[in-house]
């Protein structure tokens, strides 16, 4: 059932976002051509096309965000919820399918943005040796700290995805909490969002000032500089992954509990 939900979620969202990606890339290409044919980069057509490109770029990210909220709120908690919640499937599958598909589009929008920049700066990247230079510098940077670059990339990707997920789940949980009220549900959702972020921040401060951390810093002091920085780097990455992972699990639980046990569709 989960795969079927994901299939419909992809269909419902892809029809909005995929054309946007196409427009962005096409406009990047058009801007690139205008730049190539105009003598200076401050000519009127160049400036206009750059502005339009930037507007589409911003619009794409805004749309990704709006689609994420709209798919959760409209598809589950408005009239469409009458269909979704009477389908014979578990509530957590609805949440998971929406979360997964939103994550895909977040990554998709980022990739589309990067790709459009590559198109715009095609010459600079590929003909001036900027790219190999960049990677060489990056490799040297990591090596100097004695870090395994494969592991670092993995940690970065994991941390990125988990932070992204927690950012979406806090919104889902806020909307769900707002749903507990009989009136002014949107306002209540905003309030819930403020409350949840405050609580999460307090939690973060509590955890980072745990007494055990003193002994950790003593341990780091005993290492030499190079080892210490490598250790700290991994430590921070895994701390982020685990902390935000647990936070996401909490938000997920709140959302699932409310939609399961406290559902009251208007």
């Amino acid at each position: 059932m989960l795969t079927r939900l994901i299939k419909y979620e992809l269909k419902a969202t892809g029809r909005v976002l995929l054309p946007l990606y196409a427009v962005l890339l096409v406009f990047a290409a058009i801007s690139k051509l205008i730049f190539a044919f105009s003598d200076n980069s401050y000519s009127v057509p160049a400036v206009i096309s750059t502005m339009i490109y930037i507007m589409i770029l911003i619009g794409m990210f805004v749309m990704t965000f709006v689609v994420m909220i709209q798919r959760f709120y409209k598809n589950l908690l408005s009239d469409e919820g009458y269909l979704m919640f009477t389908l014979p499937t578990m509530t957590w599958k609805h949440i998971t399918s929406k979360l997964l598909v939103s994550t895909i589009w977040n990554i998709g929008s980022s990739l589309a943005a990067i790709l459009s920049i590559v198109i715009l700066a095609f010459d600079e990247i590929f003909f001036t040796g900027l790219l190999p230079k960049f990677f060489r510098l990056l490799g040297e940077f990591f090596n100097s700290f004695g870090l395994n670059s494969g592991l670092i990339i993995l940690e970065f990707i994991l941390a990125g995805i988990i932070c992204m997920a927690s950012g979406m789940l806090i919104i889902y949980a806020s909307i769900a909490l707002g749903h507990l009220f009989n009136q002014h549900r949107v306002l209540a959702s905003l309030g819930a969002f403020l409350a949840l972020s405050t609580v999460s921040q307090i939690l973060f401060f509590c955890v980072t000032s745990l007494p055990g951390l003193d002994s950790l810093s003593e341990y780091v002091d005993s290492l030499d500089n190079l080892q210490a920085s490598a250790f700290m780097f991994h430590w921070v990455m895994w701390f982020i992954i685990i902390f935000f992972g647990l936070l996401s699990a909490g938000y997920f639980f709140i959302t699932n509990y409310i939609l399961n046990k406290r559902l009251n569709l208007e």
């Binding site: 469409e80 269909l83 009989n182 046990k261 559902l263």
Partner: protein
């Protein structure tokens, strides 16, 4: 045999307002039941509670002995009083969705009914009129082979010709083991098909009886309704 729908002391409050208070009710398999009451009497609330779209404030509701959840969703075919169709879909997409999720959904039955209604499977739901959307939803709901059909105001917003078609659809798709619960305030239109009626007013069940018992007393359901709900 366990009743297909059973409520014990079922209460639902929205804030201070009670939409249903202390409803106890038993409905057996194999009947067409009229859930009758004026607007705002609690009919929709009761049906939504049966579909787990609302959570009871007190008391319990059971579908074939189970609390509403995954297993009851498999056996209930529900027609809400509103349009739940995703606008971006075509008629055939929503049929695909129903066949993907409901094991008891018969797509050939749905296509057959659409054809008789002159609705093209290729039409976008967005372009359909309100009445046509209602018909599409009825087709979807009646193309399932469910144990319990919950039809909330199926004949409320349509013209008399469509009303006849809807009743005919309900009769001709009716399976004698299933129970159909129809909520409405238009009684004279449907009283001929009902086995059993439940009168509901201000959140309470005021009468539940077999239709033949009412007629044995020389009364029509419509007449009795007017008597019970006289202003």
């Amino acid at each position: 045999m366990t009743p297909v729908l059973e409520c014990n002391g079922l209460t639902k409050a929205f804030g201070r307002k009670k939409a249903l208070s202390d409803v106890s009710l038993k409905i057996d398999h194999g009947q067409i039941v009229g859930l009758l009451g004026p607007n705002g009497s609690g009919k929709t609330t009761l049906i939504k509670l049966a579909n787990a779209l609302l959570t009871p404030s007190a008391g319990e509701i059971r579908i074939a002995g189970m609390t509403p959840g995954l297993s009851t969703k498999k056996i209930i075919s529900y027609l809400p009083e509103r349009n739940y169709l995703n606008d971006w879909m075509r008629v055939q997409d929503i049929i695909g969705l129903f066949s993907d999720f409901y094991e008891d959904f018969k797509p050939e039955k749905a296509y057959d009914m659409l054809k008789r209604l002159n609705i093209s499977a290729n039409d976008r739901l967005k372009t359909l009129s309100k009445g046509t959307k209602e018909k599409v939803q009825l087709v979807l709901v009646m193309s399932r082979e469910a144990e319990l059909y919950l039809l909330d105001e199926p004949i409320g917003g349509v013209d008399p010709a469509a009303r006849d078609y809807i009743l005919e659809t309900i009769i001709s798709n009716y399976n004698p083991e299933a129970t159909v619960i129809i909520s409405t305030h238009l009684i004279s239109d449907i009283e001929r098909v009902l086995d059993y009626v439940v009168f509901i007013n201000e959140g309470r069940v005021v009468l539940s009886s077999s239709v033949e018992d009412i007629r044995e007393q020389g009364k029509s359901v419509d007449g009795l309704f007017r008597e019970v709900f006289r202003c």
